[in-house]
Amino acid sequence: MTESTMKPPKKALTPVKWMREHLFSTWYNSLLTVVVGYLVVTSVGPLLNWALFDANFQGADASDCSGAGACWLFISQRLNFFIYGFYPDELQWRVDIMFLLLAVAFVPQFIERFPGRKWFGIFGMTGLPVIGYFLIPGGNFGLETVESTKWGGLMLTLILAYIGILASLPIGVLLALGRRSEMPIIRGLSVVFIEVWRAVPLITVLFMASVMLPLFLPEGMNFEKLMRALIGITLWQSAYMAEVIRGGLQAIPRGQYEAADALGLGYWKKMGLVVLPQALKLVIPGIVNTFISLFKDTTLVLIIGLFDVLGTVQSTVTDPAWQNVAVEGYVFVAFCFWIFCFGISRYSQNLERKLDTGHKT
């Protein structure tokens, strides 16, 4: 690891050389380049025309759309609904604050040298949900109550995904540890929990949470539908998370456990300081994959009557006042999901790079 002033020789490539090396190196590469090039050229033009040049951005309702291109004013006109659902207009600043805090907590995570970015992240995982817990439903501190039935749109999607992700990670860790525990009762319970939840489709979980759970709960104890959906999603997700994390735990060599034991670290310190940091790092790709699929699976809450971003768009494109805007609507939804999922993915790559300590086994 000694510093050296000598740099590896740079490969200087002229554009022509670059093309020859990357696009036309063999006859089949050349063929592929030509075919793909043709497809790109013929499809990009119409796509741009539809999305930009022939599209309508200005106006008030469907009659302002020419029909030649995309009717984006549909999105801008109904944007409020897509983001806040039925959340009252005059109280939407509360949601805006949460969006802002979300950005404050997570944008620094993408900026390598941002001072104290770790603390912003920690805030995002602790302070942010607490503030949201009081701010969004209201009912305390002189804030007007907003029933959870009024929540919807992107805001609801983010709430479901955020809480699902945040809660399923620690529960998943505990379940994974439980499944590898030496105590038969704990191990048995963990196995049963994981295998039961993992074997049930999320739709079924949501149905049961919204229809069956109230039947089992004692008289007078009733959660809101959203709460029930959240609990269902979290437990279901935890079972998946547990198995991903167990994979990581199994990859940690026995010597690590023994060294921790020999140093006198007890069970929780051994796990928390030695085993889990390594195991979680190993399975970051798996964890992120699970997060991303959860993020998208939240759209299933539509079937129990919650309007997430997909739900709000879907209910609008079937609105007689707006016709033939389904494509625009779904492109918008896809874009919303893509932005967040891509963000999660980029962040995890940053994290993996940062945690790399040059140890390969």
Partner: protein, 269 residues
């Protein structure tokens, strides 16, 4: 191991520290009639051993004879099923508090180092003092640096284990164990995963440690080391202690046939 310097260490202070403790202490480690099974396999058979404070014991024997299992019983990485193990007046039983107490006083160095790859060298050394002994971080780091200096790698303190050579890693592992200020150090073949040129740097550290009066149990095939620092050499075979003698007698005048055979093999090359 024809190292003239180490031979000197042996004759001067090394022996005296061990004898100073004789008599007043019944033995910092006492193993009495200890048996262990893996399933139906009887690995350790009726082991008896008393180690006095400051004594240095070398354990050798053919592969599979139970040497590792034996020393791993002393800090309860393995459980024994019969007999007694008493370390620093604490008997090892199922009682988790006894186990914790013993592990705090017993450091261990493994064949494959087992450093924590996600922590820097310094963090490896400070982890247990901070979390188990509750030493303030500053103090723990200062003390860790002293031990890293003692094993001659203070300049590597902020690197990760994956960036060090095998010999350096093993010296970090020794420093990490010493940071807990243990009364006893166990070594399980600390040099057998190392390239020949790195063996000496680790042995030198161990010899220095032996000179400081540390109670040591070393499983090793480094006979030069045994001759230099051991107070007693124990030969194990088939899960039994076959022979036990001071190094001079052990090497020049082994009593048991199995010991003679083993020594013939190991000294042949």
């Amino acid at each position: 191991m024809g190292n003239p310097m180490t031979e000197q260490t042996q004759t001067s202070e090394v022996k005296s520290s061990a004898q100073g403790e004789t008599g007043k202490n019944p033995g910092i480690i006492r193993v009495e009639g200890m048996h262990k099974w893996y399933g139906d396999f009887h690995v350790l058979k009726d082991l008896n051993l008393t180690v006095k404070q400051g004594e240095r014991i070398v354990i050798c024997g053919p592969s599979g004879s139970g040497k590792s299992t034996f020393i791993r019983c002393i800090n309860r990485l393995e459980e024994h099923q019969q007999g007694k193990i008493i370390v620093d007046n604490v008997e090892l039983t199922d009682d988790i508090r006894h186990i914790d107490t013993v592990r705090r006083e017993v450091g261990m160095v493994f064949q494959h180092f087992n450093l924590f790859p996600h922590l820097t060298v310094l963090e490896n050394c400070c982890l247990s003092p901070i979390w188990v002994r509750k030493v303030p971080r500053k103090e723990a780091e200062a003390s860790a640096m002293e031990y890293l200096e003692r094993v001659k790698i203070p300049d590597q303190a902020h690197k990760f284990p994956g960036q060090l050579s095998g010999g350096q890693q093993q010296r970090v592992a020794i420093a990490r164990a010493l940071c807990m200020k243990p009364k006893i150090m166990l070594f399980d073949e600390p040099t057998s995963a190392l390239d020949p040129e790195m063996i000496k740097e680790v042995l030198d550290v161990m010899i220095e440690l032996a000179g400081s009066g540390m109670t040591m149990l070393c499983v090793t095939h480094e006979m030069g080391f045994a001759k230099t620092v051991a107070d007693r050499v124990i030969f194990m075979d088939g899960g039994e202690i076959v022979e036990e003698a001071p190094p001079h007698d052990f090497f020049s005048n082994p009593q048991e046939a199995r010991t003679q055979q083993f020594l013939k093999q190991i000294l042949a090359h």
